[in-house]
Subunit: 166 residues, 2 copies
């Protein structure tokens, strides 16, 4: 929540990644005047190879639009919260857990994460997964699963496979 407010510059250009990506995470989609941030510098939120960019955040806008990019083989934090996530996949492909279902997702698919629903995004082994995520500017903090919640999730073999990246 410490991102600077996006400025009033009317146009901020897309900066396509270099064709020959170094595989070091530097080849994420980028935009002029948008900072690339590590996704949650928080040891309590396990994740792998995810970056976050706030594309639109303004005092006079009730929603906030962020871009997350998960590197090939990486994943976002498994979490839930009261606020809704409205997601559009912008790049690549992967899978997502929403509640008790795992879904394959690819470019331009829409994902709705309803309130209090466990969710996680995983990139394919050989492709990044970049997605736009619309949230309310005013929202609650995510919660990660405790041992009991993890046990319940792992009881479903399809969810268990997803959670370990199978």
């Amino acid at each position: 929540m410490s991102d600077p407010q996006t400025k009033d510059t009317p146009i901020r250009r897309f900066v396509p990644p270099p064709r020959a990506g170094g595989g070091d995470g530097s080849a994420a989609y980028r935009w002029e005047a948008v900072d690339l941030l590590a996704y949650k510098a928080d040891a309590a939120s396990p994740h792998r190879d995810v970056t976050r960019q706030t594309l639109f955040r303004r005092d006079d806008l009730a929603g906030e639009l962020r871009y997350f990019e998960v590197a090939p083989g990486g994943h976002s934090t498994l979490e839930r919260h009261a606020h809704v996530h409205a997601v559009l996949v912008l790049r690549g492909r992967g899978r997502c857990l929403v509640g008790d279902r795992v879904h394959p997702i690819r470019e331009h698919d829409l994902v709705t994460v309803a309130p209090r629903t466990w969710h996680q995004f995983r990139a394919a082994p050989d492709a990044p997964l970049g997605f736009l995520c619309l949230v309310d500017a005013v929202r609650d903090r995510p919660e990660t699963p405790d041992a009991r919640a993890l046990e319940v999730l792992h009881a479903d073999p399809r969810i268990a496979d997803f959670l370990v990246g199978r």
Copy 2:
């Protein structure tokens, strides 16, 4: 403003347009369970060849995400309003007027339309212009320019050229 609320379906898949578009506007980007609407069935809002799809609209979301697609050579209404537009170009290329400047825009560029700023989007003659537009769910109605405002806009030759599609 009469769109149905988008449903709780967690995944709505992107439906890529057929490769050989008929050139009749039917080749817009589409999504499962998202209605394709004519953009403003209102004679007072001049526009050409624009469709609108509401991708995310829910009672528990403060923002609303729409997708507009302007067919090659078409344009949106010239208008302004108190609410902000936060735009990401999803497809194609064209130009936009924001305030007193005309900007070329292409895939994934970001456009911010600040409050009370005249704006219009035009597709290239040979390419569509499809863009996501984030707005507040609660917002004011757009205003179109009266004769005096049009005169002021046309006094700038670059704006005048843009407004007639040159």
